[in-house]
Amino acid sequence: MKKYLSFFRLRFTMGLQYRTAALAGMVTQFAWGFLEIMVFQAFYKAEPEAFPMTMSATASYIWMQQAFLALFATWMMENNIFDTIVSGNIAYSLCRPVRIYNMWFSQSTATRVSRAVLRCFPILIVAVFLPENYRMAKPASPWHFGWFVITLVLGLLVTVAFSMLIYVFTFFTVSPQGVRIVFTSMVDFFAGAVIPLPFFPADWQRVLELLPFASMQNVPLRIYSGSMSGAEMEKAVVMQLVWLAVLVTFGSWLSRMAEKKVTIQGG
């Protein structure tokens, strides 16, 4: 276990080095956040009754999403993992007494956390002091906030476990591009990264709730904004745990398969 913590630590400190990238990211996220809220407001003004979430909850959802983007965006992947597979540098990792799956898991969790830590505070602080309709509200209650933190961690782990599948598939497909594009666009849409899940038609929602994508950012962001609580929340947490277990079991099995039949590319 200690070796994987060391991976986490090294990756985390490495991630904190990239200050300019963080600054650029924050600017993008502010712009994107404002843009999204304005679009939702236009819809809200047209017909407030048709809105499945309150405007304030929607704004909170969007700011939280922007602040913690790095935790949940599946398109932000570890390029160096793809590089090691494509170039054959993975040979070195295989010469070490480490499980490839666990190593990559801790590594990508660390990168996501370090990125989020660098970016979230300025966004959150500014978002709290914005004018009424754009403002990020306080959490519904301390109890909600506690669950928000727990599900945030679970959501992060589900996201990482899911992207692990993409890394492992690359063992088999040689080039990561295809799998990556299909998976990431799918996740973005079904996880509520483009529009929150309550905005989907009711029939869709019933299906989407059962998919792993709903166990990522959907749960913490909606608990924070108060659009999810009680029995619905309990069910969502159970789904998170189930998907985490399923994805990790499948991923590490697949990775072990891949290690056995891997061909190292390049001389």
Partner: protein, 263 residues
């Protein structure tokens, strides 16, 4: 002790001719060619030996190293390293070996060398005292004291290779695989690397298996040579066995390649 008996390994390679039409055809029907990287390879290496494994590009040297280090599974044959089957129990096996691939890097690019070393300490669960002793010894022998605190991306190739070699020896492995460790190095670095390997073998009795195209490496390091070509072992013996008259080592080997038609 390392033994390989009748080991075979082949790869499937997709092939097509040049041109758009051919590329389009390959979408529907792909032609494969089977390349025999190793066919019926057998040899034994005793503890503490230093063996040069030579042969032209594509002869099967790297495949052999990969099989011995547990990365690659052979199609058939028996491989044992100190009684272990490398690819059966990779995790147990790799604790006891050190590997350097001259054309790849194991150090983390963006952080100082010492950070990579500390990580390796945790990966191999090296006890604190052993780690400190090994680090001290390696720092002295490979002249690393100036390098340890620099980020890897700012090291020259020679400096990096010294760090790579140190990295693979921190956990005091009993066997060291060196796959072209002197590739691209200048004269000074080459000599430093050779001297170090020599010392490591003398002091710690580390078994060393070295692949290289640099015949001076072989001349300086290995008493025993295994020549491989087209996936087969062609010759085993000492440098003196194969040398004719006072021909230089490069000429001798070129002569051998020609004699076996493996150029």
């Amino acid at each position: 002790m390392i033994t390989m008996e009748h080991v075979c390994k082949s790869y499937k390679i997709a092939k097509r001719n040049a041109g758009f039409g051919e590329a389009f055809k390959a979408l529907f029907h792909r032609e494969y060619e089977v390349v025999h990287a190793l066919s019926d390879v057998s040899f034994t290496i005793r503890d503490g030996e230093m063996v040069g494994y030579i042969g032209p590009n594509g002869a099967g040297k790297s495949s052999t190293i990969k099989i011995l280090s547990g990365i690659l599974t052979p199609d058939s044959g028996v491989v044992t390293v100190d009684g272990r089957i490398p690819y059966k129990n990779r995790m147990e096996h790799v604790k006891e070996i050190g590997v350097v691939f001259g054309q790849r890097s194991q150090l983390w690019w963006d952080v100082p060398v010492i950070d990579s070393f500390e990580l390796l300490k945790d990966i191999y669960s090296i006890p604190g005292e052993i780690y400190r002793n090994n680090l001290e010894e390696l720092t002295e022998l490979l002249h690393l004291s100036e390098l340890l605190r620099s980020p890897v991306r700012q090291l020259s190739l020679g400096q990096r290779m010294r760090c790579e070699i140190a990295a693979s020896l921190l956990h005091s492995p009993r066997i060291l695989f060196l796959d072209e460790p002197t590739i691209g190095l200048d004269a000074v670095s080459k000599i430093a690397v050779r001297e170090f390997i020599q010392k490591q073998n003398e002091i710690h009795k580390t078994t060393v298996i070295l692949t290289t195209h640099d015949m001076q490496d072989i001349e300086a390091l290995s008493k025993r040579i295994i020549l491989i070509g087209k996936g087969k072992i062609l010759l085993e013996g000492t440098l003196e066995d194969i040398r004719r008259g006072d021909a230089g080592i490069d000429e001798t080997v070129a002569e051998l390649y020609r004699a076996y038609e493996i150029e």
